[in-house]
Symmetry: C2
């Protein structure tokens, strides 16, 4: 393990798509929606802890999740959890970590990862990350990890490569194409899913901020002296209030000319929807993804059921449904309606306030 | 109010048909399944308390429900709750009360009522009960209350009358006819539903026991000296272990020749199924019977939803379903499948023991 290598876990999401399992007080990254025995953020930590020493992790999250982060990753010190006062998308989140690291160690190399993805082939994944770190350090480029697509998913960003090397210069980014375009991408073979996992040196990413997001560069450069001091919290509050919300993809990656993608296949999913949870869950012989115990199903097929611990369910006559029961909210909806969850949340919030959100 | 008049509430049922709302530890009679603000047994007590003084009530129940009875009817003394060690159907239950009353007051007149029925026209009902009591006292006959049937229900017992008087001699009892027969009964006009509400003098019912259920008569006559003494509990235990389970309808009413029925219409239901709860509940404009608050329905019709207090539900895409959520059990099933609930209970019991039953 190298002392120059750092892992930045982005853990600020509120995970509304898994409501009512995920809540504002308990977003997806802290849940074990797939029933693996560990939360997403714990898996993410352990995945990288074999490459990077514990003291070189940073987690960027909303300040209200600081305690949760430390509970799920007790290996971290409090000062390794960077608290955003407000979510401003990935560019400010990454900037916060990068400008802090620059101050601590100008030679730092960083891998940036979402906290809530599923990766099945961890060994293969780590091999790829190590390659990326080596390449990024040597070349000073910005490296992103691309996933060989398995279906014309319209919810992902796509990266077009310029050659057929595993580590290839990026030709183009396309955010959430329509189905026709996604199908063309798949057939063409030059397109990969954007995993949102990035590798670069602190030097390279800060140069990119300076060039492509000069406002952010100015704000975070001004912030830098306060970082790690008692003035940090108030200074961060001010910067996040002022800075524009923008994704690192849109703000930097799509514009920079030194972006490379390392393509791989390692059983990746962002587990962004109940459909994806269904896909990655073990199913019974009627294709139901249900808890191992306590679920009594009759004439029920292709459904997903999630229950609180020790609760049992008797379910008859549901085909392709999502049933999510929690202590204070029950949701029953067809799998084809999962995109309505945000509408459900809005309506509940309108009538009932934040209590159940 | 007459000091000779007593009300015996039969409250031993375990109400499996309303599982998971009703439980072995909390049967239907102690629940407010219709959301009226009071339990069935409380309504039953209040219904008769306008005719009969509190000290003249007896409640016969399983011993495990004694505390619940006293909680729901705090007007009663402990010795007014007669505890069955085991359910033996209605004849032993009634015998227990009748032989006790005979000892306390040989002139006693009694009305016997289930604890868990719905009666909407309470004034009309009380008028009828008063008439029955007067007639039973005067004539020494056994009087049952018949309900003008509104549909060819195959779950009820039917009573055929011998003339078109309101208070008529009974010609015949028919337990749970098939649909064809039930339809014929309705068309014929001579048939009424057996409400399970009876009025008679203690003298008359004990004479009937002696004549038609001599074994029971012998057992309960032997028991009588122990009633109201410290020996009661053990003696009752022995009698219930020995005596045959049999309904008062089958054991006495169908055989006796002095049985009369007082027919009436007073908005009666035994609320014996979720279908009946649905029928008696207020519905929204899509014919859903749901809690007044906390239920967010989309594309959902003709369904019944019951939730724990303060819980909310978001339900999409259900037509004619029963959704019953409790703290530790969730049940979702088509309304047409409500007769499967006993099967559900058996299966849960087999796999999980009594914990959720």
């Amino acid at each position: 393990m190298s002392n120059k290598q750092y892992c930045v876990i982005m853990a600020g999401g509120i995970g509304a798509r898994f409501w009512p399992r995920s809540r504002q007080s308990m977003p997806k990254q802290f849940l074990d929606i797939l029933g693996t025995g560990k939360s997403f953020i714990r898996h993410t930590y352990e995945r990288f802890a074999k490459l990077i020493p514990a003291e070189n992790f940073l987690v960027v999250t909303n300040r209200k999740y600081k305690k949760l982060v430390l509970k799920h990753i007790p290996e971290l010190n409090e000062n390794q959890v960077l608290c955003e006062p407000i979510g401003r998308n990935t560019a400010p989140c990454i900037a916060y970590a990068a400008y802090l690291l620059q101050k601590q160690n100008p030679e730092a190399e960083m891998v940036v990862t979402p906290a809530d993805h599923l990766i099945l082939g961890e060994e293969e994944f780590r091999t790829i990350i190590s390659e990326c770190m080596e390449f990024a350090a040597k070349s000073g480029s910005l490296v992103t990890v691309g996933i060989k697509p398995t279906r014309p998913d319209t919810g992902y960003g796509y990266i077009q490569v310029s050659d057929d090397q595993l580590l290839s210069k990026v030709k183009c980014f396309t955010e959430k194409p329509n189905l026709e375009l996604a199908q063309t991408f798949i057939q063409c073979g030059e397109f990969f899913w954007n995993s949102g996992i990035f590798v670069w040196s602190v030097k390279a990413i800060i140069e990119a901020f300076a060039k492509y997001l000069p406002e952010h560069h100015a704000l975070f450069s001004d912030l830098q002296p306060a970082l790690g001091t008692e003035a940090e919290e108030m200074a961060v509050e001010k910067v996040f209030a002022e800075c524009r919300a923008i994704s690192i993809d849109y703000g930097v990656m799509e514009k920079a000319d030194n972006v490379y993608v390392r393509c791989g296949e390692f059983g990746w999913s962002d587990v962004g929807t109940w459909g994806s949870v269904y896909q990655h869950s073990r199913k019974d012989r009627y294709a139901n993804a249900v808890p191992a115990e306590g679920c009594y199903l009759y004439d029920t097929r292709s459904s997903i059921v999630q229950l609180p611990k020790d609760k049992i369910a008797v379910i008859s006559g549901l085909k392709e449904y999502i049933v999510v029961d929690t202590e204070d909210v029950l949701m029953i909806c067809p799998r084809s309606e999962e995109q309505s969850i945000k509408k459900f949340i809005d309506e509940v919030k309108f009538h009932n306030g934040e209590k159940h959100i």
